[in-house]
């Protein structure tokens, strides 16, 4: 009896553990030499964006529509969770020629 119950509990744990990561992904967007790559990223609401700034300069990821404005210090990584769907054009406030697009599915 006891081993059976144990197995059932284990199985439940496994299911629970699998459900969460399958839902939300972590996507890396790198800023290096004043270039954002990839320049176009598809993601979903709930996904985490890992903004990696490899430059010695500060950058921002600023949504044109005002949905987000993330500042990334030189040589730092900042994580932010996507909360709103939409196709968002964003740029760096300090280097306006750095432009990219985030396509966020609901």
């Amino acid at each position: 009896m006891l081993p059976g119950r144990c197995l059932a509990t284990l199985a439940l744990f496994a299911l629970g553990a699998m459900a969460v990561p399958a839902h939300a992904a972590t996507i890396q967007i790198v800023m290096e030499n004043l270039v954002v790559s990839p320049a176009e990223v598809s993601a979903k609401v709930g996904d985490t964006i890992e903004w990696v700034n490899k430059d010695v300069l500060a950058h921002t990821a600023t949504a044109k529509n005002g949905d987000f404005d993330v500042t990334i210090a030189p040589k730092k990584t900042v994580k932010s969770v996507l909360t709103k769907a939409g196709t968002v054009d964003y740029y760096c406030r300090f280097h306006p020629n750095m432009k990219a697009v985030l396509k966020i599915a609901p």
Partner: protein
């Protein structure tokens, strides 16, 4: 305006002229000095613009220049320290500094929209010249790979600045 721009471009031509006059290609300590001096010049111009500029975009651009060039120059200082290289003053650095001081004085006499335009036009011309010097002279002459790498990174950053300056200049027209 056209005349002012030509003067700036001609004076900046000294960068290549002076170095060529020395005959041999610049050494690493000289390259480090030239690159650092070029950064200081743009920081000084930006500081003047932060107080004098009236256009919002021009003011923001000046802030960006001061922030970026200070960051790159800090990187350069850290590198020369690490490499135990002492930056060496030279004719190119001297010509650059002299020309920049004259330009700063000239810009200092202007006000309002005339100042904004003259500052941005000079930023376009200045970054263009520095980028050409980096590409054709300083990067090929650098022998230390880390110094070369920093100059290459600098070039990419300053090309971004040039585009940014061109964009702001176009918006003033």
């Amino acid at each position: 305006m056209f005349v002012r721009l030509s003067i700036a471009v001609a004076a900046l031509g000294l960068l290549t002229g002076a170095a060529q006059a020395q005959g041999a290609k610049p050494t690493d300590p000289q390259i480090a000095h030239i690159a650092y001096t070029a950064g200081v010049i743009d920081i000084n111009a930006a500081k003047q613009a932060e107080t004098k500029a009236s256009n919002k975009e021009v003011k923001a651009f000046a802030k960006d220049m001061a922030r970026d060039h200070e960051a790159v120059n800090k990187q350069a200082l850290d590198l020369v320290k690490k490499l135990k290289v002492t930056p060496e003053d030279n004719d190119t650095s001297k010509a650059l500094s002299k020309q920049a001081a004259d330009k700063l004085a000239e810009l200092g006499k202007l006000k309002g929209a005339a100042y904004d335009k003259a500052y941005i036009d000079n930023e376009v011309a200045y970054h263009k010249t520095v980028n050409t010097a980096l590409e054709t002279q300083l990067i090929p002459s650098a022998s230390n790979p880390e110094l070369k790498g920093l100059l290459q990174t600098g070039l990419k950053i300053f090309q971004g600045h040039q585009q940014h300056a061109e964009h702001v200049a176009a918006s003033l027209k």
